[in-house]
Amino acid sequence: MTPDETDRRILNYLQEGFPIAPHPYRMVAEELGLTEEDLLSRITAMKEARVITRFGPFFDAAAMGGAFCLCAIAVPEERFEEVMTKVNAHPEVAHNYERTHRLNMWFVLATETPDAIARTAEAIERETGLTVLCFPKLQEFFIGFRVAA
């Protein structure tokens, strides 16, 4: 499916937030000049077509006791596949991307406790013989995750 103008208005609106109230869809529908039924069927269709990845509460893993850290390694080109296999073997590695830089491997560690971040990074250093640079967030600038639809 291709989202039409109304779908895009819905996406833009719902990126900002959603009410906690008995009939939240009706409230949003009224704001957007739609019926509750139309709103629900459009959200459902966009979810099925995977235009919407997720709709619901977004939990802060740190507030729930987890920890995250962005890490990077400068991997020699000829060792890339080998190092990737070793890094990805850790269940704590949630995402891993190859990027255009001397630091060419960027991954996110997600662990249940803060000290597991350092332990995992050290384990990867031991296994690969390469330095793992850690870039924990010091400050997050709130953006509401908006993308103009």
């Binding site: 996406l11 959603f18 802060d60 890094v87 990027r99 995750f145």
Partner: protein, 162 residues
Amino acid sequence: MTLDATDRQIIAATQAGLPLVSEPYAQVAAELGLSEEVVCDRLRTMQASGVIRRIAVAPNHYKLGMTANGMSVWDVADERVAELGQKVGNLDGVTHCYERPRALPDWPYNLFAMLHGSSREDVEAQRAHVAAILGDACRGHDILYSTRILKKTGLRLRSRKG
């Protein structure tokens, strides 16, 4: 805040998404054997304390034609990073914006902003916007495009006892 067993139940029941029915919180409550009021109160408390960052839609950037993205990184004077980071975060198309530690001498950058656009030119135009906002507080910058997704499993927090 400390989460109790009820909070964790509500988190588990809504982690995959809210039900797409007229009374979604009542449905979650019914599944858990709670009242709608309790579910709504708990959600409001978690939102106020930051455990819930927001209740919202996460659009699929690719399906909306935002197929290009780059991790832009900036070396910003420490005393101005809080003020300027907020301004960068307010730009449309910026989906994440963080201050992170430098790793000298390899890595002089302390502000990270993920830029999204419909093309690499779009992303470069956004990068120019960011550069204009930062002005002479910025001593150097770079952008890293992803060339390959090597792993993407998302977050899996194991359930814990409340």
